[in-house]
């Protein structure tokens, strides 16, 4: 079985964001970029499935600028076998990502597509669902446990409001990964060196048989209003009065 994992290059989760002064987005100049943490979990899961003997190839894919090669190399160092970058210099919206991945699924014929449940930059949480819809494949979102059950079946445990829900799906399928699925491994220096010789193929978005005009228009980006300073109260009675005054009690 081949597993395709989609990864997105995003501003690292430790970095405090600054909105550009013209409101056209956030500053990314000189800012540390990383694999979207949920996607990193998906890469880890794919490698674990392969290590358990249920897959023979892990292919990582990213859509974006040349710089995404860094994230693909990191995924290769974790243990993916092969990488593919779809070059695209404009904003990648979920539908564009889903259509591009659909085209790649057509070419690569994976049995399983894994990716994070959402990217931490736009928090859209749409690409996996759209991809499953376009492919007409079953899907399981927010996976916290994945078990390849054999005979073309996979069992997925999902974290839902009521607790845990377990689904049984037929392969091929699309699964989006949640935080508690696994803890990605530490990369080792010898693996980084090995990853340099693993194949990384580049494609232009224009080479894929898809048409997409952006349907969403980002009007403006702004920083949230700063939180007003707190008030220190002297006693419980004062606290109760203050809460009553605010209409909370």
């Amino acid at each position: 079985m081949k597993i395709l994992v989609a990864v997105k290059r995003v501003v690292d989760y430790n970095v405090q964001l600054h909105v550009k002064s013209d409101g056209s987005g956030v500053e990314t100049d000189g800012v540390k970029m990383s694999i979207n943490p949920f996607d990193e979990i998906a890469v880890e899961e794919a490698i674990r499935i392969k290590e358990a003997g249920h897959a023979d190839e892990v292919l990582v894919v990213s859509i974006g600028s040349d710089a995404c090669q860094e994230q693909l190399r990191a995924a290769l160092a974790m243990g993916a076998d092969r990488a593919l970058l779809v070059k695209c210099d404009r904003d990648v919206q979920p539908l564009l990502a889903a259509k591009a991945l659909q085209a790649l699924v057509g070419q690569e014929r994976p049995q399983l597509v894994l990716m994070g449940k959402q990217a931490i930059d736009d928090d859209a949480c749409q690409t996996p669902q759209m991809l499953a819809g376009l492919l007409d494949w079953p899907q399981a979102t927010f996976a916290s446990r994945i078990v390849i059950a054999g005979a073309g079946k996979v069992e997925v445990t999902r974290e839902v409001d009521a607790g845990l829900e377990t689904l049984s799906l037929d392969l091929p399928t699309v699964i989006s990964t949640d935080l508690r699925l696994n803890e990605p491994r530490y990369i080792k220096i010898p693996q980084i060196m090995k990853a340099k010789s693993k194949p990384l193929q580049m494609l232009d978005l224009a080479d894929l048989p898809i048409t997409e005009t952006p349907l969403l228009n980002i009007v403006t980006t702004s920083a949230p209003e700063p939180r007003p300073a707190g008030v220190r109260v002297g006693s419980v009675a004062e606290l109760v009065d203050a809460l009553k005054e605010k209409g909370v009690l």
Binding site: Q16, H18, S21, G30, V31, I189, P190, I192
Partner: protein, 548 residues
């Protein structure tokens, strides 16, 4: 422990200007001579530039020597110094500008560039990778690896995945041995391996102790109408009283940004002094505040710097390796610039390494000392040698007059050398004997609370790992430092790592918030009992500076 091992011809610790210049020059020279020399650079920051913090003013000559075509290669060096001012701040309102003729020559910055060193290092990193250097970011060189004959054989990277008690967590990865014929140490000021090497090979024999400062820096985006790219301001005087050394800098970069900071000499005597608060107060001066009003603070960080200069130079070579850049203390304390010397020391190291390869197996790097003494680094540090001690001995005004005379008229040729033989940690006076300092509350617009500042350093450490700030004797902070100095770590640390807290019964304890640490090394330098050892935390931890 059985460890995996990788081998390179040259291993370099630290992806700063010295380490990267060495890596680049080795590849360039090897290329010219048709040699295949493998070079790796270990960087503890999560990426190249993440732990780099400097003013920074750059003397371009050294970069030009490394890359004559730096302009075409789009080095992030675009803003030349346009106007410059040196001011004495007399109180919080008045600034006395020095007329041009009265400015000591080393402090004249005409022809130099205002840069972000972090961005310059990112660029150098790309150039190095383009030449085939393997840069491993997120890997701290944790300990030294010795050859049988006692020389350096390389380094061991830090273990990943240990919990607070040092037990292995799931996913634990043991550090690996990075073995090399030559290992170059370029960790920056007061590197923890540099400290061990200095001790092991007695590199400081005959040299004065190193002297240090702590630099606290912020980057602001200011009103376009007030922004003048290339404008450079240096101040001394207020808010420090005459007994402590230090001063402020404010450089206009491009993109409406200004880099500003305050340096306090770590030879201060009053344990109540708080460098962070001095920096916050300095911003409220009538010369600075109007510029920042209406602006946004983008970044915060801090780093120790060395300013011992010529008298404090250690031997830089030892069997199997070299100490480079600020790890050896090459900042010129009269100029307050050092990037050019870091770059030059890297290039000198590269030449020495290539010559040693040509000389055959096992050749040592002793030649480096000779090359270093013949280099412009040595001559400029020699020429500047009396400036810092004079300022220490005689204060900013009298010492400043000497500075001018010594540098502008005599070019450092006086037939004597002033010394500062007492180490910075040894000069602290008892808390009870010193006046407490009353710092103003932050206004939330120009001056800020410390934790709000630390948040802008993008610092992150895995929480469940062994504490990387190790006390040699756990009782010293409360048994000695607290009664004598009111535990000064609480104030000199620019990231609120050290806190003395009392419980309901009044029992005091020292809390070490290691996850706040911005890797400035000040605690390892200034602790009066020399009881704190700064060790690298899990690789990738620490600040994530953007354009510092």
């Amino acid at each position: 422990m059985e460890r995996e091992s990788v081998a390179f011809d040259v291993a370099i610790v630290g992806a700063g200007p010295a380490g990267l210049a060495a890596a680049i020059k080795i590849k360039q020279l090897a290329g010219e001579r048709g040699l295949d020399v493998s070079v790796c650079v270990l960087e503890k920051g999560s990426e190249v530039g993440a732990h780099i913090l400097s003013g920074a003013l750059l003397e371009i000559k050294a970069l030009e020597a490394l890359f004559p075509a730096w302009r075409d290669l789009q080095a992030p060096v675009g803003v030349t110094v346009a106007e410059e001012e040196l001011c004495y701040l007399a109180g919080s309102q008045h600034a006395v500008k020095f007329p041009d003729f009265a400015v000591p020559k080393p402090l004249r910055n005409h022809g130099h560039y205002v840069v972000s060193l972090a961005n310059l290092c990112r660029w150098l990193g790309k150039q190095a990778e383009g030449l085939g250097v393997d840069i491993f970011a997120g890997f701290a060189a944790d300990s030294l690896l010795y050859r049988e004959d006692g020389g350096i054989a390389g380094v061991v990277t830090g273990d990943m995945g240990l919990d607070k008690q040092g037990r292995q967590k799931p996913g634990f990865q043991a550090g690996i041995e990075v073995r090399a014929k030559y290992t170059l140490f370029a960790e920056g000021c007061h590197g923890h391996l540099g400290k061990q090497l200095t001790e092991r090979y007695c590199l400081r024999e005959g040299a004065d102790p190193q002297h240090y400062g702590i630099g606290i820096k912020e980057v602001w985006k200011i009103d376009a109408a007030k922004h003048r790219p290339g404008n450079v301001l240096h101040t001394f005087g207020w808010p420090l009283d005459g007994s402590s050394e230090g001063g402020g800098f404010l450089y206009h970069l491009d993109g409406q940004q200004v880099a500003l900071g305050f340096i306090v000499g770590l030879n201060y005597a009053n344990p109540h002094l708080n460098p962070y608060q001095e920096m916050q107060r300095w911003k409220l001066h009538a010369k600075i505040k109007p510029l920042l009003e209406g602006g946004t603070r983008l970044a915060y960080g801090a780093r120790a710097l060395n300013k011992g200069g010529w008298q404090s130079l250690p031997r830089m070579s030892f069997p199997g390796g070299l100490l480079l850049g600020c790890d050896a203390g090459l900042l010129n304390p009269a100029k307050l610039r050092g990037i050019h010397n870091a770059l030059r020391s890297g290039m000198l190291a590269a030449e020495t390494v290539l010559e040693s390869f040509a000389a055959g197996d096992g050749a040592e790097l002793d030649n480096f000392e000779q090359k270093f003494r013949a280099s412009p680094i040595y001559s400029e540090l020699y020429q500047a040698r009396n400036v810092a001690p004079a300022l220490s001995k005689w204060g900013p005004l009298l010492g400043g007059a000497f500075f001018w005379l010594d540098q502008n008229l005599l070019a450092g040729r006086l037939p004597f050398t002033l010394r500062k033989p007492r180490a910075d940690h040894a000069v602290l006076k008892a808390a009870a004997a010193c006046p407490p300092i009353d710092y103003p509350c932050p206004d939330g617009k120009i001056s800020f609370d410390l934790m709000a500042s630390v948040a802008l350093s993008n610092t992150h450490h895995e929480a469940d790992q062994p504490c990387h700030l190790q006390l040699r004797d756990a009782d010293v902070p409360l048994a000695v430092n607290w009664p004598q100095y009111a535990e000064p770590a609480q104030r000199y640390c620019p990231a609120k790592v050290y806190e003395v807290v009392a419980d309901a019964n009044g029992n005091r304890g020292l809390v070490i918030n290691a996850q706040n640490c911005v890797h400035c090394k000040t605690c390892d330098i200034k602790d009066p009992a020399q009881n704190i050892d700064w060790r690298p935390p899990e690789g990738g931890g620490g600040p994530n500076y953007t354009n510092m």
